[in-house]
Symmetry: C2
Subunit: 296 residues, 2 copies
């Protein structure tokens, strides 16, 4: 079988893979522009620049893309698939990109309705299907962290937590940032934040205690960002634990963040394993491409 091109194309990152017919990643490139950085939204030109030399036009090499490239801000909007959904359900539901010379498709995101309303993901579904997890709870940490329950290879429930973005805006734009230096991860301060998150009071109170910890408990300016991270990740895990009650969780993501989540899960009494996010993306793109018959 021929190779194909898989692209995990998000808001601020673009990771491209040339993958052979057996799922082996032959080449990878991680320096493409996120969709918001593509000039004039000319995604056709951007794709040529990212992976044009991989796409053998005469042979009909397929390109399969996942992530925000399929959103209203992307190339072609790929309507969400409802859950429950398995990798095989994407066959026939890939969004074709109109392109005169190339065979290009986009993986739809997923849509579900949880107890607090509707929820969506784009890109994470592909990582989930490439993670090797057929039954269990997975967590994909990030700007908008996703938690999903997988049963029999299907995503049956999921929820989003705005953890990474709340960290970024509080770090940069709130009074808490004035008590912080740029500094490397501080494991002890992170652990203090995780413990703080388990105290009564709720997140809006715990956030203020980042300030009082600096004023009154000797939390240093270098340690404060890790403390804030611990408070937020601890809150996310406590809320997800209440919702999904997992005995163990597989964290799909990049180091060191995935490792921080694994530690935080352990502090919350949950066993944790990690899977590299880029491997999961490539694996999911391959699995969906094969099941959709894109490999010829």
């Amino acid at each position: 079988m021929a190779s194909f091109v898989g692209i995990d194309w998000g808001t601020s990152n673009c990771r491209a893979y040339r993958i052979d017919g057996h799922g082996v990643v032959l080449e990878r490139r991680t320096d493409g522009p996120g969709i918001l950085a593509v000039r004039n939204s000319d995604f056709s030109a951007a794709l040529t620049k990212i992976a044009g030399d991989w796409i053998d036009v005469g042979s009909g090499t397929a390109t399969l893309m996942s992530g925000m490239i399929g959103s209203a801000q992307g190339w072609v909007e790929a309507p969400y698939l409802p859950i429950p959904a398995a990798a095989a359900d994407f066959a026939g539901r890939l969004a074709p990109v109109p392109d005169p010379h190339r065979r290009i498709f986009i993986v739809p995101g997923l849509h579900g309705v949880g107890p607090a309303g509707p929820d969506v993901m784009r890109g994470e579904e592909t990582q989930i299907f490439g993670s090797g997890i057929e039954d269990g709870v997975v967590c994909l940490p990030g700007t908008h962290s996703k938690w999903a329950v997988i049963a029999g290879g299907k995503v049956v429930r999921f929820a989003t937590f705005m953890t990474g973005e709340v960290f970024a805006v509080m770090r940069r734009h709130s009074i808490l940032g004035r008590l912080m230096n740029e500094a490397p991860h501080d494991a002890a301060a992170f652990a203090r934040g995780l413990v703080r998150a388990q105290a009564p009071g709720g997140l809006l109170h715990h956030l203020f205690t980042v300030r009082t910890a600096g004023l009154l408990e000797g939390l240093g300016r270098d340690a404060a960002p890790s403390f804030l991270s611990g408070v937020l990740i601890g809150e996310e895990i406590a809320a997800a634990k209440a919702q999904f009650a997992p005995a163990s969780v597989t964290v799909i993501g990049s180091m060191p963040l995935a490792q921080h989540y694994a530690i935080a899960l352990n502090v919350a009494g949950i066993a944790a394993a990690t899977v590299a996010g880029d491997e999961a993306a490539a694996g999911g793109l391959y699995r969906i491409a094969r099941q959709a018959g894109l490999l010829g």
Copy 2:
């Protein structure tokens, strides 16, 4: 008894009152600069500009100030008083401002230790002591909302919630803001946000549903800020309810925010009354001044 000058001087607001010996507010000015807006931190000159004509130097007219003017960023740092604390406990603990011609004092803030660590307030204690509440639970909404339990005229417990600041930074700096217009308060959207806050999932999840409500539930751009406000105020009240279990709460603050809190309290099954924040500040300054013997 002579009149005195009371000033509620916070980070971004300054409210000055000329108050007679019976506690009657003779004049008020609300257009002074917050402490961060005082040029070169020359608070002596700023005070002269705000209320110099009220301070009859020969007579020894006293000036009593509360709020962030007593912080490290203010005029003179007034060390926090530990709780439990009553208005009478401030006598002898007011921080004198070195000034050759005027008698000026600053009300210390309060310091307590709750289940999630230390907590502080500056300025709200004065409003509490001027609210007329001797026993009960009060809420002072704002950038950093304060909740306090009052027993026998003493503040015995309190907690801070970063509700207003989280609203502001998420509104201005997060992806949620891209789904919002500047718009007047929308009572129906606010109520939807309050209900959302009561669903399972936790604040980090509920914040993301502000986005999905815009994408998938028809929440309009004009309604979205009120929905976000409802989510955050609803979360604050749920957390405070879990901590303090009040049957009723007195909200001390300005309209319309105090009224929004009263509605939110009712939705959470808690009876609510409101007290105007500026009246409470003037009343508290008078009560503390009288008990400290500043009225001659």
